[in-house]
Structures are given as C-alpha cells and as structure tokens.
Homo-oligomer: 252 residues x 2
C-alpha cells in the first residue's frame, strides 16, 4: 500500500526575546507559539543552535582567552583573532583542513564543520564567542519533553548551518534531535516496480533542519520554525543515527 504524504506547513516563530544564560527556552517557545496561535502538539519544532547555546550559557568572553602557540600561528597565517582560533581548537578533536582563512575541524561531538561551530555573529557582545551545545541531543530531549503535552508529542531538532565539500553555500543540518527517528529506513521496502530499495535512507532530521532553514536567514530574527503535518515516527539521536563512524567513512 502506498501512503500518500499530506502537505506540510512551515511556520516561523517571531517575538522571542534575546536569550540569555538560564532563559527558559521551552517556556519562551511555548509563549511565542501561543501568541501566534500555533499549536505545537504533533508538530516538529526546529530550533537554531544559537539560542540553545545562549540559554545553556555556552559563551566565552575572548578577553578571558589566552591563545596558545598553534592558535597564534594560525591566527597570524589567516589574519584572524588568535583568541577565537584558540576557542575553535579547544572545541575540536582534530583539524580536518586548513586553508584560505578556513579552519575545518572535527568537534568533540564528531561534527565536521568550519571553526568547530564557534560563531561571533548574533553573539551577546562584540568579543563573545558562542559555542555549540555540549550535547545537542540532550538539549533537544529537554526541549521536546518540556514542549510535549498529553495532547501530543513535539519532537525537536536543533539545527545549525554548515558548509560542505564540493558545493558552495550553507545548508542547515541537525545537531541534535529527540522524539523522532533522525533517519528513515526505507531499505527492504519496494520501489514502484517492486524492486527492493537498497540504499534509500533519507536523513530526515537534516531535511527538517534544511527546510526550516528556508525561514531562518540570520537577519530575519526567526530562531524557531514549527513544521506541521510531518508524519514522524520512532526516536533517536543525531549522534548515533547521523554521525558516520570513522571506520566506515571514506573521507577521513
């Protein structure tokens, strides 16, 4: 039997206040949704990493950072603030590529991205760096638990914009997820000609993040997007489901 997907609606949430360490992010999302008349039960909520990190206090004042030798070397080579480079290195497990002012690292979580995800834009101060959440899946779980009600589950995806090899531009990907399976396993199902599908495993959480990203450009002030009508199922973390084991990765 073919299950026909229904239309999806992507709703940008506005009006969240500036988020600070200790902010009740779930409460603020609930309030903003209520204000806009958006019901969250049964919807997927995509939250941009920046406000999660701020609420969790993942901020470093560069005034407190003393760059080491490597950070000073890279800073000089690429014309970058060595204190920021130091923070990037501290957040990383290894440097994947270095060149043309770009520092691609593997974070302690296992994400491969520019600057370990450390960002100065939309930060609370001119010399404040925002780091990725320590455990984005746990952050998603806390938000999902707080937003879900007896009326229905509210899965959460925490997103960030990453570059990628071979293609220009950034796309939003999932850093963390809770309340849905981050990957859809279509293996074993049949194509329309009855041939078994072998390698069809859409990275659902990443597609949800990318879809939300269409409404999240930085100047718009939309840190949360509600996705209505997506038939989520299962559960799982980005770390286990989407981060490829280095043993099976052809690109490490």
């Amino acid at each position: 039997m073919t299950i026909r997907p229904a239309p999806l609606r992507l709703i940008p949430l506005f009006g969240l206040p500036e988020i600070a360490p200790g902010s009740d992010l779930a409460g603020l999302i609930r309030d903003a949704a209520r204000e806009q008349g958006v019901a969250l039960a049964g919807c997927v909520v995509v939250v941009c990493q920046k406000i999660v990190s701020k609420a969790e206090g993942r901020l470093v004042d560069l005034a407190d950072v003393t760059p080491g030798e490597l950070a000073r070397e890279i800073g000089a080579e690429h014309g970058r603030d060595p204190r920021q480079v130091e923070v990037v290195l501290r957040e990383s497990r290894r440097i994947v590529r270095r060149g043309r002012g770009v520092l691609i690292t593997e974070t302690h979580h296992g994400f491969v991205c520019a600057n370990s995800g450390v960002d100065l834009s939309n930060a609370p101060g001119p010399d404040v760096a925002v780091l990725l959440p320590v455990d984005p899946d746990a952050s998603a779980k806390r938000l999902s638990d707080a937003l879900s009600t007896p009326a229905g589950r509210t899965p959460v995806v925490i997103s960030d914009t990453f570059g990628r090899p071979w293609r220009e531009g950034l796309v939003d990907v999932a850093l963390g997820s809770a309340g849905l399976a981050p990957i859809r396993d279509d293996r074993g199902t049949m194509d329309r000609a009855g041939r078994e599908l072998q390698v069809t495993q859409p990275a659902t959480a990443d597609q949800l993040a990318a879809a939300a990203g269409l409404l999240m450009w930085k100047s718009a002030g939309v840190p949360v997007v509600v996705i209505e009508g997506f038939p989520f199922e299962g559960d799982g973390t980005v770390r286990r489901a989407l981060l490829r084991d280095s043993a099976t990765d052809l690109f490490r």
Copy 2:
C-alpha cells in the same frame, strides 16, 4: 528593516503517469496541479531528477553495454554488475573514492556523488539504468518557462538524493535550477547586533530540494512538490552558483 518571512506550504503532487522518453513533463505537472487545485504561479516547483531523466530519454539498457577492463575489475571487486559500473564510469570525469561497494565519482557536470547518479531503482525495466540529465539547469529552465504564466513566474529546482561525507543518510540537493537565485547572498547585511554577516550564504536551491525531499520518499510516488510562499528572487544556475570551483575546494 527586518522582513518577516511568511509560512511556507509544501504540497506533494500525485497522479503523474509513468514518464517515458518524450513525455510532456511540464504538461503532466500542470495537469496534476490543476487536478489537485494547486496554483503554480509564484510557487517553486521541485521535480525529482528521475522523471526528468526519463522524459529526456536518459536511459541505458545494460544489454547494450560492453564493460571495459576497469569496469570488470571494479565489478568483480565489489560484487557489482560490470555493465552498470561501465555506465557509471562513462558518466564520470574521475573516481573520487572507491571502497566498501561504494563508487564516489565526479560527474561530467561536476557533481560529486555515488555512482555518477546512475540508478536502477524506479527504472522502466530490470536492466535499465537511469542517468542524470545532460544539463539539469537547462532542463529546469525548459520546465520553468513552460510552467510560468502571465499570472506569475514558476521557478523550478531539479533534485536528487545524495550522500555526503561524515554523515549517514541521504539528503536531496539541487541538480539544476531556473527562475531563482540558487544561493542567497546575505554578506553585507547585519546581524541583530549590527555586526556585518561574513559568511552567511544559504544554498537556497539545496534547502528547497531538501524540504521537498521530506515528501518524496521513493515508495510514496511523489515526484513533484510545490512550495508555496517562498520569497524567491534573482535567477541562476546550480552549475555556476553551487558547484565549487576545484581551485577553491579544500576537498579535491
């Protein structure tokens, strides 16, 4: 001034017949949209590569393929049909990685993907391989021109599912586009604190493809998704806007 994005609606189109070489794809999409009461003017239409390739006759019967030495070697090594490998090699400019039954190639267009995008699933016959369109941007342009009316432009994105390094699962990306800028250039705009955004260039066409992919899983029979409410602007091709020049790519 902050421009607040409006909600988006993603509408799956059903009921397209099996597409064959010479099918009037634009006409069939228009008919399916009319049948479902969907107006296309001002909407982005995302079309999966498979039906574009079929309409354009990009099919190869493996019975007509004589594998060369390399194809026979790779086929034997990875337990794959050497005729299919031969087709993959013919569609490629070079092999990027080879291992664990996976053949990552760079296509003549410049896409880096598994098997040069050559696919046997949802093909019109058991031994028929479907190739990528020769020029997906031109395919998108033809469709966009045919679907646009005096009532409004209808940009088109042609999508395919690609794997990526470091992350499991597949996401839909844009192979071709017409009628919109594939990348959004936010450089020069300010963040909420008035700091200039440096590297914020969302790959809009890829995000549109990924969003549509949420409704396009292969067993569902949804080859076309209409995206309503997206504030597209500009114009451009995927080849020029999204394929990174090898001179500036850290991963070649």
